[in-house]
Amino acid sequence: MEHGLLRRSMATFGLAAALTLGGATLAAAQTTLRIFTGGQQRPDVMRQIVDVYMKNNPNVKVDVEVGGATSEQQQQYLNTVLASKDSALDLVLIDVIRPAQWSAAQWAEPLDTYLGAEKDAVMARYLPAYRAANIVGGKVIALPYFADAQFLYYRKDLLEKYGLQPPKTWDELKAAAQKIMAGENNPNLRGFETAGAPIEGTVCTYLVPMWGAGEDLTKDGKLNLAGDAAKKPFALWADLKAANVTPPNLAEIPTDRIRQNFQAGNLIFAMTWGYVWNRAQNDADSTVKGKVGVVPLPGFTADKQATCIGGWQVAVSAFSKNKAEAAKLARFLSSPDVSKMQAVLASHLPVFPAVYEDKDVLAANPWFAQALPVVQAARSRPVTPRYTEVSEIIRTNMNAFLAGTKAADAALADMNGRLGAIFR
């Protein structure tokens, strides 16, 4: 009896001691990592993903910091943090257009040494476009988190009602939109929207039709705005505006407003990104659940469809104090498992070809079956360390043109002059 009590109290003491010691070592080894993401890249889903990571790595705590709704607003904040060499952020989610700029500014810790001998094997698994975008000057600047491209979203129910097929050309889109708008007679219903506010997405509003016309902004590193293809975007958007297919306020429409208008049932067609699918199907306030179709963007001819590549990458800050741990987390965030999680939870397009064929992924996003060739054919915005300036010149002129305050010739002349000074 007495013996038993002694043994029990010994055991209790031992347990308490073990707990105390264990707690102490746990606290000592704890690393806190801070990752920055934009508000539009589904921070709620990222939190679910890092919860999985923390469960498997109890010595690591991950904080998710959320900022800036649009790409250029995020970069504005990051510019001030990183230009002052602040170590507060360990990892940053960056737009696919940024790796060149981040490499030049020396803000990203190259990941080559952390990948070690596996580097080539790891990089070979990604979609080629993302492998190319994240390797700058032979160094791995960031790892792909999710892929993206612009698609044409359409109202399946309305197209069926009027016996229409999803359009393959801009002319078909215009005709379909006009027919439905005339038939519905709903003053809130608009034909088509794309980004028109002075934001990053508006760069694609210019480039997609230019690519569709067979040219690119630069040719052999030189500016290529002299030909007819450079005028095509202006002609296309002016035509849709004159036909009342685009709304009169297109110049104040940023990316996420397109989704809101589409979800509210006020849009027939929308040129926007992958994330909209999940929101339109699942958001409580969506009025278009089960009425949405997604196809590749139209072209000037049915065989020449172009789209803008998007997507987000995980970079390790060059000023982080926990680079090794951060690189480990970056590899996890860029793994097939996480790609699948994002595809199911947020309709984020996978960065691995195989994930497009996953059963669960296809169940959540039936249209992913046709999305892979679109992502593979999607084109990149110009790659330059001075991308923020290039982007600003294009989007400001496009915005002024869409607002009707600047003629196409004047906008083109301004772009020529200012972009010419950068692409010398």
């Binding site: 506010a197 306020n249 104040e252 300036e389 400001t396 915005n399 002024a400 043109f401 305050t405």
Partner: protein, 302 residues
Amino acid sequence: MSTIKHRLTPLERSERRLGFAMLAPAFLLLAAVVVYPIADLIRASFTFLHLAQPWMGNPFVGFDNYAKALGDERFLEAVWHTVLYVIVTVPGAVVVGLGLALLANKPFTIKWPVRLGLLLPWALPLVFSGLIFRWFFEYNQGIANAILRGLGFAPLNWLTDPTLAFLTICLAIIWKASSFVALVLLAGLQTIPKSYYEAAEVDGASAWQQFREITLPMLRPAIFVALIFRTITAIQTFDIPYAMTNGGPGNATETLAMYIHKTTVDFLDIGYGSALAVLMFIVSAVITSGYLRYTRRDPGRH
């Protein structure tokens, strides 16, 4: 005060030393947060410094950045927009602010709701007011277009038409700034002795005459203070157009401060941005000293 010099006694000398010693921390703090940044800004404005191109280094380029500014259409447009904002919003805010101050100076039995109403716009953060006004004037969701539609008119492109965008921004700025002006003028109004008005009343002066002959002249110093503050902040206009239009459509509503922000924070072109900031600093300094000279030459003759 006599200005006759005399030898300082030891006591006075030690007092003077103590005085300097006690002022030193304030001087040092000012040097650290005002003098040093301005000096560094001026230094940077004579160099090439572009953080997106760190391999270019930080070479001295003389007056290149200033020469570039004078040939930069975007800069000249931004200056012109800023001048327009000053011309419209400074007198606008002073007139509206004067009206508000006169109203608030009425003998209300309960004064605090009136004062609170005056203070609120001033207490709101600038970006906040900008966002509120943007929501008012948004094409689809805005209340302005809802009213127009309700009255049977076509909705207007308030924020994407250059003239309308400029006017709505001015409206937001005047709304925001007039409350500060009203506070300054209200303080001025309270210093005017009631007996002046009583005397005028006895002499049979009308309300308008009282306002012109008593209120306005007595308020001159306060109006000048309000004008100086308002002009300086108008030259630095940033938050409200940033939140309402982000300078758009195109760059039709972009102010000088916004262009400087874009050049430095977005483009990371610190050298050129510094030169633009120095130019803005000079403009501010010239205008302020002009005001000060005018007030000193003419210290309320009435």
